[in-house]
Every structure is written in C-alpha cells, then in structure tokens.
C-alpha cells in the first residue's frame, strides 16, 4: 500500500448509497403501474404518446446541455420523469405531436432556461401542460377516449340529453350548473338529478377507483397511482404531508361547498377520485425541486393546493384545477420556505 497517498477531506467519510438518479428512477418505477394501466384502458396509442413524450424530453435536455457546454445528464432520470408526467397529463386522443411539443417546452422553457435540474421554480411537466392547454384548448379538453370496458363519464348517459359525452368532472360540473340555474326546465332538472345520483353511486365511485373512465392518459386509475405512491412513501422519496393535506383540503371544501342542494351535501369521495387529484397530489405537488423543504411549509403548500383546486373546480372556469393550483403554489414556494423555518433545537422565546 502507498503510505503517503491518503485522501484528506472533510467529514463525513461515509455516505448513504443514494443519488438523484436513484430517486428519479424510484419515481419512474412508481409510475409503471399507471403506464401499464393507461395502455390497457386506451390501447397502444397511449404507450406511443408516452414514449414520444419521453423521447422528446430526453433529446431536448441532451441537446440544450450540449449547447450550453455542460455535462449531459439525461441518464439521471429527471427528464424521463418529466416526459412520463407530461404524457400523463394530456387526453389520449390528441395528435402525436402534441405531447412532443409539450415535452420540448417543459424541458427547454420549464427547466433548462433556469439552469437544469434543481433550479426550476415550476414543475416542468405542469408548465408544459399549461402551455398545451393555452395553445390548443379544444384538443386538450375534448380529445377523450372512453376507457376499455367503460364509458367516458364512468356512468351510462343513455337517454339523457342534458349532458354530452364528457369526463366525470365535466359531467358533474354541468349537472350542478343545470340544477342551480333558475332558467332550467323541470325536465332538465329531473334528468340532471338522475345523472347526479348516478355519479354518486357506488358503481361510479368504483369505476373512478379502478380507472374505467375517460380522462388524461395517466390520471384515471386511482388504485394504480396509489400502488406507486405507496412505493414512493415506503422508499421515503415522498411523505404524507403534501398529498395528505392537499386531498384532505379538497375533501372538506368539496363536501361543504360542492353540493347542489346547499352546504354539506357535496360528494368528497367523488372529488378526490375524479380528475387528476391523485396524480397531482402524489406525483406532482410532491416534486422536490418545486415544493417547500420544511415540514410546516409542506402543510401550507398542500392546503394551498387544495384550496385553489376546490375553488377552480367549484367556481372557476375549468372543470379541473389540479395543474394550475400546483403551479400557483410552486410560485409561492420560496415565500413559504422563508416563513416556515423550523424552530431550531433549543431555540427559545419567540417562535420561529
């Protein structure tokens, strides 16, 4: 052995065997069940869109890094996660180039402009989705495909003429509007109430849970997303605070204010399972880079997302509000972090 070539460095001298790559591929593994589910529900078309989206994300990241003259790190898995999540957030019937454009935007403008992994203030995938929604609103809100063995809305709308074919959240929104509208005819209101009862039935809830409904590629099956989320929790890559407070806030607000027949008549379970809440709460609001680091900050972040989502769903212009809520709270993250510094060990006097 060479006596005089010992490495001299600062402590600690051992490290946990972990890396950005490990964390990111953990997220990819967690997303696999939902990917498989999307192919089952919407056919090979879903797989094609996911692959194109990932490919676009990886190539964009690599090209920009090369142009910037920094090490190419497309192997760290972060662009892959963005690619999958972006595809998960578009309807299965959109043209093939749309997720590609979304991914390019997400990586180029959402991430690399700020300096790459770790420096982006907003969740890149959600920013990409917002860009697509603003640019091609029609495709992004109508290119739905009924899931295999199910319907688009999760219930049968035969013989009902008050609503057209739409996703569960859109149907819910429509019938709630009809019931609240003084100009609705009695026939319309009767039909709307029937549909509402249908939506709240255990059969409809079960469809939302398994994913037998229409929606964005990766958001429909609550059970498959939850399987992946429990893996992430088990690996300590995410923890309960953000998704827990997010969903609890949505549950309480939609129960209190979401019903057509006054306060405390809303269906909280429907609102948790429908749309992109599960996907958003467990996979996108928990994005490490763009959410607070302190425990108290995470709770504020989760509650904030929940309040915004509920407001958008119940009174805003869109049937769904998960992605905008998270983006808005991303913007607030530095502010939240600054004001939620944990109390130091042994800190006394005024609370920190």
């Amino acid at each position: 052995m060479s006596e005089h070539h010992f490495i001299v460095s600062s402590s600690p001298h051992v490290r946990q065997n972990t890396s950005i790559q490990r964390v990111m591929f953990g997220v990819v593994i967690a997303l696999v069940p939902a990917v498989v589910g999307s192919v089952y529900f919407y056919g090979l078309r879903a797989l094609l869109l996911i692959l194109l989206s990932c490919l676009a994300a990886l190539i964009t990241e690599g090209l920009i890094q090369r142009a910037r003259g920094v090490p190419v790190t497309i192997g760290d898995g972060s662009a892959l996660v963005t690619g999958i999540l972006l595809a998960f957030n578009v309807p299965p019937g959109v043209p093939w180039w749309m997720p590609v454009v979304g991914s390019v935007f997400a990586i180029a403008i959402g991430k690399q402009v700020f300096g790459g992994v770790g420096y982006n203030p907003l969740n890149p995938a959600l920013l990409g989705r917002a860009f697509l929604l603003a640019s091609w609103p029609v495709q992004m809100t109508t290119a739905w495909i009924p899931s295999r063995g199910g319907t688009l809305s999760g219930i049968s709308l035969e013989g009902v003429d008050v609503v057209t074919q739409a996703t569960p959240l859109a149907v819910m929104r429509k019938v709630t509007e009809i019931i609240a509208d003084p100009n609705s005819t009695t026939h319309q209101i009767v039909q709307a109430r029937e549909v509402l009862a249908e939506l709240s039935s255990s059969e409809s809830i079960a469809n939302l849970f398994t994913g037998q409904v229409g929606g964005c590629i990766g958001e429909t099956s609550a059970v498959l997303l939850l399987i992946g989320a429990s893996y992430l929790m088990f690996k300590h890559y995410i923890e309960w605070r953000i998704p827990g407070t997010y969903m609890a806030t949505v549950a309480v607000l939609t129960w209190v204010f979401g019903g057509p027949s006054g306060l405390f008549t809303g269906n909280a379970l429907f609102h948790i399972l429908a749309g992109g809440l599960i996907l958003g709460a467990f996979y996108m609001a928990t994005d490490m880079v763009t959410s607070p680091v302190s425990p108290k900050g995470m709770i504020i972040f989760g509650v904030g997302c929940g309040v915004l989502t509920s407001i958008i769903r119940l009174v805003g212009g869109y049937p769904e509000g998960v992605s905008y809520s998270i983006l808005l709270m991303n913007v607030a993250t530095p502010l939240i972090d600054r004001h939620t510094r944990p109390k130091k060990f042994g800190e006394v006097g005024k609370s920190g």
């Binding site: 010992f6 402590s11 051992v14 972990t18 950005i20 964390v23 510094r341 944990p342 042994g346």
Partner: protein, 402 residues
C-alpha cells in the same frame, strides 16, 4: 519542562498547563527524552511534542500512589486531582474535565449523565470499557457526582448494546442515585445535547451549554480516568482506542499509553489486508482525516478508522434538488440546504441567523444527500468566515471605544 537527555518515569509531568482551560501532560512510559520538537498531530499539521525512548522498565513516578482517604475528599480536592492528573473528555473533543466540574455558582448542577452511547458507528471503545470495567466506571461517576454535589446520575447506553446495559446495571451500587437507561439506536444519540434531551428531558438553549440546564455530561472513559486518578493516583496516561475499518486484518480495541504511534497499534492489529484510502481519527461521521499514520494516540483519540477504496464515496456533487432529506436528518432541526446556499454566496450574516453556528457537524445531512453535496465542508468553512467576521467586528468595536 523537559529537555533531550532527561530521564522520565511513568507519571512524570512533561508539559504544564498554560491556563484554566488546559491540563498538564504526563510521561506515559519511563525512559529517556530523545527529542523535543514539532511532530505530526492528529488534529492537523504539526504540534510541539516530546519523544521518549522507552527503557522497557516501566518505572512509575513516586507521586503515583493509591489514596486511602478517597472517601473523605472534598469536592475541591477531587477537582484538583482531576486537573493535576491531566484528565480531559475522552469522548473525542478532549475538553478539560476539571473545567466542567467547576461550574459557576450561578449554574447549579443537579444531574450527571455518563455517555455510553458511543458517538459514532464503527467505534466500540466505550462498549468494551463498559463490559470490562463497569464497577470502576461507576465509581468514577460517583466521584464526578460528589465533585458537583449532585444526587442524580444517568448512564445512557444505546439499545444495540444489551450486554453493556446488563453489565452496568449489575454493577450499580444500591442507593447511589444512578440509573442505567437504554436509549434508542439513532445517530447522533451520543451528541451531548441530544443525550440530555433523551435522558433529562431538557433542551439546551441554542448557543448555550449543558450547565445552563443543570447537567454535566461525561464520557464513560472519562469516568474511568477520574476513578484511576482519584483512587489509584494514576494520571491520564492511557485510554481505550479502537483500531478498525475494512482494510484492518483484525480490528481490535487497545488500551495503549498516550503517545503510542498509531502505526504500531496497526501492527498489533495484524496490519492491513487491503489498500487504505483514508485514515480517520475518530469515527466515520465526524472524524478527521490523517495524511500519515505517524501520528500518536492523543488524549482525544477514541479510535482510528481505516477506510478502503470501496468504503469511500468520491462522487462529485450534483445540484441540490431540494428533496429535504437533510432537513429531516438534522438533529438540530436546521435547514442544511438553505444554510449551505447562504454560505456559498458568502452571506454569512444570514447563514448565522438561521443557525450556522448551531450546527454540530454530525454529518447526518451530508450522509443522506442524494446530490452528494459537501454540506459539512461548507458549514465548517462558513463558521470560519463567521468567526473572522466577528473578530473584525470586535476589533472595530474596540477601535471605537478607544
């Protein structure tokens, strides 16, 4: 104190204390002084040292005599003996023990905690000591309690050492006011402030000392040294040292004399069977790397850890992804990632404001960081900058008042 050619015996004073927060050094073997000069030191660089060539006789100095009257000593007597015996904290920081035993009157001490939690992984020195010398360790604790005039003593041992817990429990004398407590296995359980929190349920205020909450913490090795000094009259000339690590042929705990070259302990442990990349004085989380094995065992050497190429992680740091794992890991409840960012832009005032100086450098944050960021390195650097700033501010203050 001594010059080349002097004959010394075991226990001869070879270095005198220069102030209140320092202690004398004693010859640990008998023989002839062959050199006085600067030699490599485990805390970095070179320090003044005395080289003694042993005569193999092990002749003890006449002052080393057992005390028959140990039971009738006053607290002041005990503190004086501890100081003159050159005793320092043997957990690693090597803070003079008599200072801890002389709290100001305004800070009465009601609890003594004996730290058997073994500060770091790999090191087993305290564990062995509790198994092999439980009675003497506890006698040492009783002497410390007497010196401080307090009635309550705890021995905190992590639950992964049930044999040590059993041995210590069996050795506790009736009515001594001493409780042996099993602690959760959790790094850094052996850190002073965390230990006080776990045992006495008191939080030392940020920037404060254990005595602020009426507690004194001592390492089990220190307790043994106190016993040996007070009862047997032996100054601090030896300690338990763990020689360990994957490249070491047979990892062993030794009780060498202070000043023994680390190299010869390694030979005793069978030498190396593999390449050595890093030599660490202390444990893997907080220890200091050495550039040579020509360093001696000093009073604060709890162990020498040798790490092979496969033990160390030289991956370069990646950008922080704000995962918050460091925040979870920090036992002082700080925000390591945020402090690091302030240090890196040299906004030291902000860094200090959010707790830079409260960092105990335990290494937990850097251990868990998926981006392999050099958090502790930055904090040490930041603390140095903070210290410089303070010095400058103090100087400016002085200037003004003149």
């Amino acid at each position: 104190m001594v010059k080349v050619g002097d004959e010394v015996k075991v226990g001869s004073v070879i270095g005198e204390a220069s102030g209140f927060v320092s202690v004398p050094v004693h010859a640990s073997i008998s023989g002839k002084v062959t050199a006085v000069g600067r030699f490599p030191h485990p805390l970095g660089g070179e320090q003044q040292a005395v080289v003694i060539e042993g005569d193999g006789e092990d002749v003890w100095h006449e002052s080393v005599q057992p005390r028959a009257n140990a039971d009738s000593l006053t607290p002041k007597d005990i503190v004086d003996i501890v100081r003159d015996a050159g005793i320092v904290g043997l957990g690693g920081a090597a803070f003079p023990t008599h200072v801890k035993l002389s709290p100001p009157d305004s800070k009465p001490i009601d609890t003594v905690i004996l730290n058997g939690a073994e500060c770091e992984p790999w090191l087993t020195a305290d564990h062995r000591l509790m198994l092999e010398r439980p009675g003497e360790v506890l006698e040492g604790l009783r002497l410390i309690m007497r010196a401080l005039g307090c009635e309550r003593g705890f021995v905190g041992i992590e639950s992964n050492k049930p044999d040590a817990v059993a041995a210590m429990k069996a050795a506790v004398p009736q009515g001594a006011g001493i409780r042996v407590v099993m602690l959760q296995v959790k790094y850094p359980q052996g850190a002073e402030k965390q230990l006080i929190d776990a045992l006495a349920r008191r939080q030392v205020p940020a920037g404060g000392l254990p005595m602020d909450v009426g507690v004194v913490v001592q390492n089990v090795g220190t307790a043994l040294a106190v016993y040996e000094a007070v009862v047997k009259g032996v100054p601090l000339i030896r300690r338990v040292v763990t020689i360990t690590g994957t490249p070491v042929e047979s990892p062993t705990n030794f009780m060498p004399r202070i000043g023994t070259p680390v190299k010869s302990l390694v030979e005793q442990a069978g030498g190396f069977k593999d390449d050595v990349s890093k030599v660490v004085s202390g444990g893997p989380m907080m220890g200091m790397t050495q550039f040579t094995t020509d360093v001696p065992v000093i009073k604060g050497t709890s162990g020498m850890l040798f790490l092979g190429p496969s033990d160390i992680d030289t991956r370069p740091p990646d950008p922080c992804i704000r995962c918050g794992h460091c925040v979870h890991a920090c036992p002082m409840k700080l925000l390591p990632t945020t402090i690091e960012k302030y240090v890196m832009v040299e906004d030291i005032e902000r860094a200090v404001e959010i707790g830079l100086n409260d960092c105990i450098e335990c290494g937990s944050c850097a251990y868990v960081c998926p981006s392999h960021r050099r958090l502790v390195h930055q904090f040490k650097f930041g603390k140095y900058l903070a210290w410089e700033l303070k010095k400058k501010a103090d100087a400016a203050e002085k200037e003004k008042s003149n």
